[in-house]
Symmetry: C2
Subunit: 98 residues, 2 copies
C-alpha cells in the first residue's frame, strides 16, 4: 500500500485492519480482542446486528476463537469478516431481486 492514491480494494482492507486495531488496543494484548473488546466491536460496528443480550460478546468469542486461547487474533477476526461479507453479499442480491 505504498501508492499515493489507494484503490477501493486497498482502502477497504486498510479500514478492516483499522477496525480490528481500534478495539484490540483497548485492553490486554494490543493485537488480540478480549471478550470485552469483541463485545464492544460488535455493539459499535454492527449496531443493527448486535442483539440486546448481554452475552453476545461471549458467544462471538466462543464461535471465533478457534485456537481456544480465549482471545480473537487477527486471523480469527478475518474469518468473522468473511462470514459478514458473504451474509452482506447475499442480502445485497436479495435486495436486488426484490
Amino acid at each position: 500500500m505504498a501508492h499515493q492514491n489507494p484503490t477501493q480494494l486497498e482502502t477497504a482492507l486498510c479500514m478492516l485492519i483499522n477496525v480490528f486495531e481500534k478495539y484490540a488496543k483497548q485492553e490486554g494484548k494490543k493485537d488480540t480482542l478480549t471478550k470485552k473488546e469483541a463485545k464492544t466491536l460488535l455493539e459499535k460496528e454492527l449496531p443493527g446486528m448486535a442483539g440486546k443480550n448481554s452475552d453476545d460478546g461471549d458467544k462471538l468469542l466462543e464461535s471465533l476463537d478457534s485456537d481456544g486461547d480465549n482471545e480473537i487474533d487477527f486471523k480469527e477476526f478475518s474469518v468473522f469478516v468473511i462470514c459478514l461479507l458473504c451474509c452482506a453479499h447475499n442480502n445485497f442480491f436479495l435486495n436486488e431481486i426484490k
Copy 2:
C-alpha cells in the same frame, strides 16, 4: 446495512462487495469473475502487487477457483480477500516494528 450512518466495518464490507460487482458485471455472468475480469481486477485494484507477467489473471483464477468451474464466485473472492487481509496486516505490523 439499513442505518443512516454506516460504521467503518459496514463501509469496508460494502466497498469489497462493490469491487467484486464492478469487475464481475463486465462480461459473462454478472455474479462471477472470468479470467479476464480477474486479471483486470488485479491490475486495477492491486497495482503494486500485480506483476507484469501477462498470465497473472490465469494464475489467480487457478489458485482461487476451488470448485473448478473456471470462474471466481463471491465465496472464492472472499478467500482471496482473507489472504490479502492477512498479508496486509502482517506488513502493517512489520512497518510498526521498524
